[in-house]
Point group: C2
Chain length 491, copies 2
């Protein structure tokens, strides 16, 4: 490594040199999806951001254990008009089963992430599968005196915690201000303080997902799962915790408080947050009518979309913005990304067709370093993409014969381009198979039309040659009264 990797740490508010605790191993935890809805652009941005980090860390030689959780302890409840008795009388099979809903959307999430060429994490723990660990965390926090039990629930005592530690260390908030803005005279239920949050919640009759606990039947508070599962799979101190900026407060703030309360020390070295996505300058949301699922983007099935956008166009568009900047989706911007991506893909194909010369007339030795420099500067993918455009310009010059590279330089150029374009940015070939098949079918039609013309000209040699060679390749040709029909037999 020529220069070290720097990563922006939300906790310190600056870029820091990345030094893992147990090199060559790196422990990385990223907040995954809540699987009660179709995956959307927000899921794509977070997954792509940390996929590129995962790919780059592995490329520079680290052995990464990448944990991304599945939040499946959802808030599905039974119908309000069904009394507790009625629910209890229903056969299990006739009741709504939240895990069936969660499995459906988990499968959907996996499919869309595969479309986007996102590598699978090392472990994908489900919150519902780690209740024991979450109960144990609640017990530790209670034992340390930073939580209290109230009517079957366990709440984190934020004020008490803040007397000894700093609640707000990640988000830069101040508890006094928070209390000033959120304290209410009533309606805080069984919590002592409006700022307190649930580590364990008592299950109401309508709650379907419930487990036994020392405090009665209930379910874990949302913030609990990441602290419990991060510690289980990565240890009490690990290198990176990532997620979307919308999770910074309260989720990640609460995670820090839980870890410090339970074990006396912070759990994470680097906190990383990807910025948000807007659509035509607007926040996305169901109420705004602009919540477009990834599947709708890929199929072009939404009134706001002029056309379908391939998974690789979406991926490339997201990488054209730095992960800490907002990204605004629009038809115009996506179509510009499509064109830019096509230029880089063309350059790669042209590069593969180039032949080396005896001597190099240009110097490409700095390209690799510039690509690494971009990535080492807090994963600056827009700068990396600019480096690839520089390479594409060089490739065009070589193709036009206005410059030359010897064999070693040609290999170097190919290796750098392939490494950063395919392996780090994670761009894969756009399999527009249907369109290609159509073009090839037209070429076969043309060939058969040439044959008909040859027959008309009594050029039997040509017409027989076309028929015989096509048959040898595996095409079946049939002359009918309506013209020529053909099909390709299974190869």
């Amino acid at each position: 490594m020529e220069q070290p990797l720097y990563i922006y740490n939300t906790l310190s508010g600056k870029k820091e040199s990345f030094q893992p605790l147990h090199p060559p191993k790196v422990g990385m935890y990223v907040c995954g999806p809540t699987v009660y809805g179709e995956p959307h652009l927000g899921h794509a941005r977070s997954a792509i951001t940390f996929d590129v980090l995962f790919r780059y860390l592995r490329y520079i030689g680290y052995d990464v254990r990448y944990v991304r959780n599945i939040t499946d302890v959802g808030h599905l409840v039974n119908d309000a008009d069904e009394g507790e008795d009625k629910i209890a009388r229903k056969a299990r099979l006739e009741q709504l089963e939240p895990m069936e809903v969660a499995q459906f959307y988990l499968n959907s999430y996996h499919s869309r992430m595969d479309d986007l060429n996102i590598l699978r994490p090392s472990i994908e723990p489900q919150a519902s599968g780690h209740i024991i660990e979450q109960i144990a965390l609640a017990e530790e926090i209670l034992a340390a005196g930073f939580a209290y039990v109230s009517d079957g629930s366990v709440y984190f005592d934020v004020e008490k915690y803040n007397q000894k530690h700093h609640y707000g260390i990640l988000s830069g908030r101040n508890l006094e201000d928070m209390l000033g803005s959120t304290r209410k005279l009533d309606g805080q239920g069984d919590k002592r303080n409006q700022a307190d949050f649930a580590i364990w919640k008592k299950a109401q009759p309508e709650h379907i997902m419930r487990w036994p606990s020392p405090w009665g039947e209930g379910f874990p508070g949302w913030h609990c799962e990441c602290t419990a599962m991060g510690r289980k799979y990565l240890g009490s101190r690990f290198d990176i915790h990532g997620g979307g900026l919308d999770l910074l407060f309260p989720h990640h703030e609460c995670e820090i408080a839980q870890a410090v309360a339970a074990q006396g020390s912070e759990m994470v070295s680097f906190w990383m947050h990807n910025n948000m996505i807007t659509l035509n300058g607007q926040k996305m949301g169901k109420s705004l009518g602009n919540a477009i699922s990834l599947e709708q983007f890929f199929k072009g099935e939404h009134q706001l979309l002029e056309k379908p956008y391939s998974p690789m166009s979406i991926r490339f568009f997201i990488l054209q913005a730095h992960y800490r900047n907002p990204a605004d989706f629009s038809n115009e911007a996506l179509q510009a990304s499509e064109k830019a991506l096509a230029r880089l893909t063309d350059a790669w194909e042209n590069l593969l067709g180039l032949k080396p010369a005896e001597q190099s007339s240009i110097d490409i030795s700095t390209l690799r370093g510039k690509c690494a420099e971009a990535m080492n500067d807090d994963l600056n993918t827009p700068v990396l993409i600019a480096c690839l455009f520089d390479a594409a310009r060089i490739i065009n010059t070589l193709k036009d014969g206005d410059a030359s590279l010897n064999e070693a330089d040609m290999k170097e150029l190919q290796d750098v381009y392939h490494t950063y374009f395919h392996n780090i940015l994670g761009i894969k070939e756009n399999n527009s198979t249907a369109a290609n098949a159509n073009a090839y079918a037209k070429a076969v039609d043309l060939l058969l039309s040439i044959r008909s013309q040859a027959k008309a000209n009594k050029d039997w040699a040509t017409s027989d040659r076309i028929r015989n060679e096509l048959s040898a390749i595996g095409f079946e040709i049939k002359d009918t009264k309506d013209g020529v029909e053909w099909k390709l037999n299974r190869q």
Copy 2:
């Protein structure tokens, strides 16, 4: 439904009319993979058998909740030469993490099952995610008096159970005979009786997967997970429990004993078992050198394989045997299946190209009933395939013009064929894209060779026409000193 579905129930030893407990809902549980190795033919046969059942039950109108578990509570242990102290000193991240191994093979299992066109079950619960439910089951059996605690483990008391119930009801075994053949004078450790089995096992220092329990740190016995998860997601009584014949004893026998001991009654209406697979007449196993993974089959990468076999060939081969019969794999048998499958696929393609006549000269009205009859007779897929071959013969007669069908009959034939071939048997089009692309590329080469010949003959009209039309389709043609080069631009 003209006739009811009959399913062979291992418990009664005969085919029984299938009547679900809560129509139109059906609860179905199938033993899934242990994710500590590459998926192989055994996984494929079980998954395909119950996939076809799942598809058929849905087709005849049932709303199926299909649960297939993931056994991830494995037996990975730390290195024997590492003392307990040394393990404890190691950072979590530097220790072997069984869930990382399990995730790897789970991903691999999902990919291979997708290749085989197997529908995802409704819920895929992981054993490690249901420890609470398994501890609760052990406590119920203890409370009922059919288990005992011994040195931190909980064992099922088979002899005591057998005094009141019948241990061996599924496998037709007799406890006295079993004891006679397995009782040993020593070496039964902390069990009272050799036939007893563990519901909960005390974790030894080298065991990595361990959870707290009322009996100390440990992990659930293998038989426990299916009983606990089946009950959780399908209720205390559900319709179908499936699995491979190798699981009949002891696994399913123990499941029945656990359920009866815990709740006083059996949990399952229909027990179904698919038969085993042999390779060239031999049992498969690592020690025999013939354990071939599905991926090796698909790629043809094993010394025993003459060529790659596509996922659909494997699927079709498996369906050519009835699920309760053994199936013997060999190169010869697989190649025969490939040819048979190609005939059925060709017939489907020909059927789509047929034009209806004014009148039908043959009667196809019995085909649908015959297909249903085959499936209703305990999922007799070989008979169903024979019905499809009958249909293929009719299609050839129609194609040759020796018979005719009117529009309604043509639609009926297409619908029946599509339903049973694609939707029930689950055959999808064989995307041999690479081979097809190669054939099409050769057709373009031929076209350009015809163009060169035309140029040589000074037939400029033909050579220009080929060049211009290929360009219009999207092909880029370049005449170089080494000959003609072409590429297809992205469509």
